[in-house]
Amino acid sequence: MPLLEVNNLEVCFGLRSGAVKALRDVSFTLQRGERLGVVGESGAGKSVLGFSIINLLSRPGHISSGSVHFEGKDLASLAPEELRSIRGNRISMIFQDPMMTLNPVLTIGVQMVECLLAHRRISKADAKRIALKKLQQVQIPSPEKRLDQYPHELSGGMRQRIVIAIGLLLDPDIIIADEPTTALDVTIQAEIMDLMLNLCEQNNVALILITHDLGVVSQVTQRMLVMYAGRIIEQGPTKEIINDAQHPYTQGLMNALPQMALPGQKLNQIKGTMPPLQRIPKGCSFNPRCEYVMDICKQTLPSFTQSGNCQVACHMVAEPMQDKMLIKEV
């Protein structure tokens, strides 16, 4: 049994102008200790996916159908109290901007200890000891001092280390990290990413890494999902996708990487922008931007096709008769 199994997840945002589906038909699994990358443009639903796993969507968002099975329990339909005992305990999250993630009026110590006390019956002194140990693990200089400090007294990099330490406090099974290094200085991004990778490996924690940075995904993760306009369009082993992407969108993302362009050449951008969620086109949602668009792409939603170890939602991959169609058009 996989550690986490997401099936046909659909997330709706009930707005005044009508309900908008931020996630559609999202299914994937995560094994114990596995590191999974979730990539896509901003607005593709990556962060929504992260929050919906622990059912922490802010109003008016909600899971409208599908399930999130964690060790056999469906988190999408769990009672609030039971859900709370899993959040931060078995599944923890690391947010994007460490400047905003920590409460400005509470000390680091309070924010760490409260998390331990919420899930374990231990004394405050013991909780403090554990917090200190975790601070040492994230390699913060003079950790004893940090417990009594407030967030504004620490740098961004240090704060993100603390957020990671909080994420690891209860030795969770899964950490969901939503763009954990984007808000940081470029010089410490790699440092923080290495730290996370090492800690996950040491503690055998599964990692869901949400990012738009394909470079990081290729270095850190074993498997990856590519999302577009609320759907998964390609998933499989990271190596395979990076080396031989099947979906035109994934190919476009790869080509847009700076290292793919020759010196002096312009970066290869995917033309156009992702449609807003209220106006997703019929058929394959990528069709207006796709170089290889066919008639069927504008009519029918592509289902997943197995290609090697990957699953791809693309008509071109599904129907090898593309050559015939091209000839017909000529």
Binding site: S85, I86, F95, T101, P104, E114, A118, Y150, H152, V163
Partner: protein, 324 residues
């Protein structure tokens, strides 16, 4: 900490200086002290001689310094009406006003925090919607009409509560208090609610909107993700951050509150400073008007300092005490 008080002290000096200047010009322009002393039947030469003797012909600065020197010693001249030192007359009325403000503050805190927090947590509930509707009605009713309405209902129709005065007071270490007798407390109820009524809707709305904003913040989301209890999230994580802007606004509103004591005290004939001030205005009792201004100025300075202190205690980003 020392730097904070030095800065505060400096500000206080500036404020009091400005108030004393205003007060002095009022005293200088309002009424001729000579007439108060000798009446009309004195010749012009004698008047001039007297003016010289009293220093009324001295340059403005000299006269102001003399006034300020006396003022610092608490001597603001005698009230024309009471024939007693104006400062003493005001100070005697101070407890009544302070107790009224205190009562209103208690009511505001007691009601606005829970109601504001509840309607921020459950913005869609019928209770929150009713509260929001009522609060806008509350804002729209002038404080003197609230007072009249309360008097009409509780004093005249139902005859439950007294409509004017302070009732029985007792002396507590030189402070005339109405808090220790049942009669005094009964008299305090209507005026306190009246004074509170003007601020209560404002604070409920403020707390609600600030709290709703805080609940959307990343750190509250992170707190949810940590799996800590809703109660702790609302009352430790969110409320503390909500209170920061509320404290600032509260500090500003204290000034408004003092102004509204004049209205409240007038309707309830509450024997406080505000009521006295209005009487002094009608009697052109200049020393009393000046004394009132100076005491109110002092109240402003003290409360603003207190508010800053409280703000510093709640907000760790503000360093009052310097690094430990």
């Amino acid at each position: 900490m020392i730097a904070f008080f030095v800065k505060r002290f400096f500000q206080a000096v500036v404020v009091m200086f400005v108030i004393s200047l205003i007060s002095f010009s009022i005293q200088d322009n309002l009424g001729d002290p000579l007439r108060e002393l000798v009446g009309q039947s004195v010749s012009e030469e004698e008047r001039q001689a007297l003016r010289d003797e009293m220093g009324l012909n001295d340059p403005f600065l000299v006269q102001y310094l003399r006034f300020a020197k006396k003022a610092v010693q608490g001597d603001l001249g005698d009230s024309y009406f009471f024939k007693k030192p104006a400062f003493d007359v005001i100070m005697k009325k101070l407890p009544a006003t302070l107790e009224l403000v205190f009562g209103a503050t208690i009511i505001i805190i007691l009601f606005s925090v829970p109601i504001g927090v509840y309607s921020a947590i459950n913005p869609q509930s019928w209770f929150s919607k009713t509260v929001m509707g009522l609060s806008i009605v509350g804002i729209s009713i002038p404080v003197f009409l609230t007072a009249i309405g309360l008097i009409y209902l509780f004093a005249i129709e139902l005859n439950w509560l007294p409509s004017y005065g302070r009732g029985e007071t007792s002396n507590l270490l030189g402070w005339e208090t109405g808090f220790l007798t049942a009669d005094g407390l009964k008299h305090l109820i209507l005026p306190s609610f009246t004074l509170a009524s003007i601020m209560l809707p404002l604070f409920i709305r403020l707390i609600r909107s600030e709290m709703m904003e805080v609940l959307q913040s990343e750190y509250v989301k992170f707190a949810w993700a940590k799996g800590i209890s809703p109660r702790r999230i609302y009352f430790v994580h969110a409320l503390k951050n909500t209170m920061l802007p509320v404290i600032t606004v509260g500090g500003v509103q204290i000034g408004t509150m003092v102004a509204y004591t004049i209205l409240t005290e007038t309707v309830f004939q509450w024997p406080g400073m505000g009521f006295l001030f209005l009487e002094a205005v009608n009697r052109v009792d200049t020393p009393l008007i000046v004394a009132y201004l100076i005491v109110v100025g002092a109240i402003f300075v003290v409360t603003n300092t207190l508010v800053d202190l409280i703000y510093g205690l709640v907000n760790p980003a503000v360093k009052l005490a310097g690094k430990k």
